[in-house]
Symmetry: C2
């Protein structure tokens, strides 16, 4: 059964009952002193919580701390900063992450153990605690503060990513909201991606963890911007129960919708990106192969550069499919851009080149491959590769 899921206009992470947020400019990045860069998310009621974290072997101090604290499956607040990743910072970094949590806990009157920490920005620099400590007192939490939080998380993001959905179930309703940041170092199995999700639904902590993993699998794990992952990635979900019990399937559907919306927003706002690429694989032998093929093709620099130039060079899509490692029979493969078939049963079709160019010039470019070998399908999202991506990333630190 499809739940009645409705997107809330201007919805954000504080749309669910009982969540508060706020942010301020601590001046963490010396080059952007006035940008909001320090934010707090807080639930007035205690939450069950779950998280998904980077698979990178180099883990930032806030990741190590938050993973440890989430073992109990509970949380009351999240503190996040941009401008400094607090990664590759050793003992000092671990101390700074704990200190940030402590300052947050003190400000809102909860135990430091209930505070999760997230950071994003340059790797290898220490957190400037002497700027963070006084700034923390300037953070004012409000029911509408999700918008400020979303902006405080941004680094090279060009727009804030936030959404919320309301789900009517029987006589009641519950809400799920979220904020995310992305931009570079974005690749399957997370990314320089921070996402905080909230809900007022009452859910058991084992279910929460499972539902989060399922939703991340089809959303944040299916986007790629540049093939790199970061030591800082995390997706956190907090449920404070204020809206009471909810049906499991409605919760899962709504959570997937929120995660997919935020993941696509992150992909569309990749550094230097001008287009969102939606890559669908059909007819794969297994779900694992469908996912692998979709993620490989959407990550190909050559495919991404061709989309940037609206160049219908479909051979690169076939080549990326071929190197993905999944079972492919060239003579069975169909390839579409939008609704236009370019290859059928492995044979190049004569196609209207100007029409194909027009399809590739859209803000959202849909590419579909049918392997005709089985019944599994998967969708991945990415963006085009532009000269601006290189310019941004060749001058990030200098």
């Amino acid at each position: 059964m499809k739940a009645g899921i409705e997107t809330i206009p201007k919805g954000t992470v504080t749309s669910p009952e009982g969540f508060f947020a706020g942010a301020t400019s601590a001046g963490i990045n010396e080059k952007a002193r006035d940008k909001p860069d320090l934010g707090v998310l807080f639930s007035e009621a205690p939450c069950v919580a779950a998280g998904v974290f980077t698979t990178n072997r180099i883990k930032a101090a806030p990741v190590v701390l938050s993973q440890q604290r989430l073992k109990r499956g509970k949380a009351g607040a999240v503190v996040v900063n941009s401008g400094c990743a607090n990664a590759c910072t050793g003992e000092r970094g671990r101390g700074d992450a704990a200190k940030t949590a402590e300052l947050t806990a003190k400000g809102i009157g909860i135990s430091p153990e209930e505070v999760l920490v997230a950071s994003t920005g340059v790797i290898g620099l220490p957190l400037p605690m002497k700027r963070i400590t006084p700034a923390m007192e300037q953070v004012i939490l409000s029911r509408d503060g999700g918008h400020e939080l979303a902006r405080a998380m941004m680094t090279t993001d060009t727009f804030a990513k936030e959404t919320a959905v309301r789900v009517r179930v029987g006589k009641g309703e519950f809400t799920i909201g979220g904020v995310a940041k992305g931009s570079g170092m974005i690749h399957p199995d997370l990314a320089t991606l921070l996402c905080f999700l909230t809900t007022d639904a009452a859910v058991e902590k084992g279910f929460l963890k499972e539902a989060l993993k399922k939703a991340v699998d089809v959303s944040f794990s299916m986007i790629s911007i540049d093939g790199d992952t970061s030591p800082n990635d995390m997706v956190l979900l907090m449920a404070n129960g204020l809206a009471g019990n909810v049906p499991a399937d409605a919760f899962e559907q709504a959570l997937e919708q929120v995660c997919t919306y935020l993941a696509k927003s992150v992909a569309a706002d990749g550094e230097g990106a001008t287009r969102l690429i939606e890559l669908t694989i059909r007819g794969a032998r297994s779900l694992a192969e469908a996912r692998l093929a979709a993620r490989t093709i959407v990550s190909s620099s050559l495919v991404k550069a061709a989309v940037h130039g609206a160049d219908p060079n479909w051979g690169r899509i076939m080549a990326a499919l071929g190197r993905s490692g999944v079972e492919v029979e060239e003579a069975r493969t169909d390839l579409y851009i939008g609704d236009m078939a370019l290859v059928k049963a492995g044979r190049a079709l004569p196609f209207n080149k100007r029409g194909a160019v027009r399809l590739l010039e859209k803000r959202e470019v849909a590419i579909r491959l049918d392997l005709n070998l089985g019944s599994a399908s998967a969708t991945a999202w990415g963006c085009d590769l532009s000269p601006e991506y290189v310019t941004i990333n060749s001058q990030y630190m200098t």
Copy 2:
């Protein structure tokens, strides 16, 4: 024992005794009608031969044909074209590859079975046989024709890649020569890479195959330009025996030297590249892990973009190491750019930023990581990522 290996000035694939080559302009790519694009390599004495081919599941017609013909371990000639990959061309493509071999065989008076075929260029277009057929008669083979062959193979390459070495052993000597083309779709486990190697050494065919595999493992399999591989990649080695028997170790050393030189030339001439990156891993637990880490880091878009901007953003190198999947202990890892230590035992060292920028501005940038976990080491080569790479690849076909 190190063999006395001497690089031959202006050496090329026809430097070994008994090899002839030539090329012409067939006008295969309509946008570059006058560029040499069709070449032939021929040995007057019969050769034992071996090849290494693309791991891409989508294999171009010439790859399928050459792989099949090399099963006997013999070859007499190679015909190569640029401007059209003859990939994703189905039955017609297979017929065209065979026809090209037949025309070549007829021209030089050998059996079509002895002719190997290689192609590079746009995927998905058929070979223009009506231009290739008459052009084949214009190819004039000469002892000095390796240079022409090297140019005929080029696509977006900016310089021809060719070399030869002479090895003195006892009273005699033997020669190994080679030509290669690269530029885009270059990644470990081959690349849009064609390489033809020749020698006048007399070697047994099983040994030839093994020696080629060993040399490719540390050279062509250790370069990356953009993470993509193509359906057309091949490295071929032909030995005509005219110089008699040679010591196995001297042959292996010389072959590795030729392959490494050509592989580094391909990496340095990556599309849009301005710098060669040499990435060395030391102290890994195993050779497999050392190779994987080196290849992963040298393939990272973010590392490549930072090198392009001479930005000493070493956190990206650590992040790429962390996602490579190899065992890493942050607190044991050392990182160097050139001879300058930036990280020791996982701790960021204060470093001279201007000095680091100067090291990154060199034509060849050396980056070294010591994992301090074992004794295995490996080196990989790549290039920086420039806005020009994107420009070249967004307009390849249109």
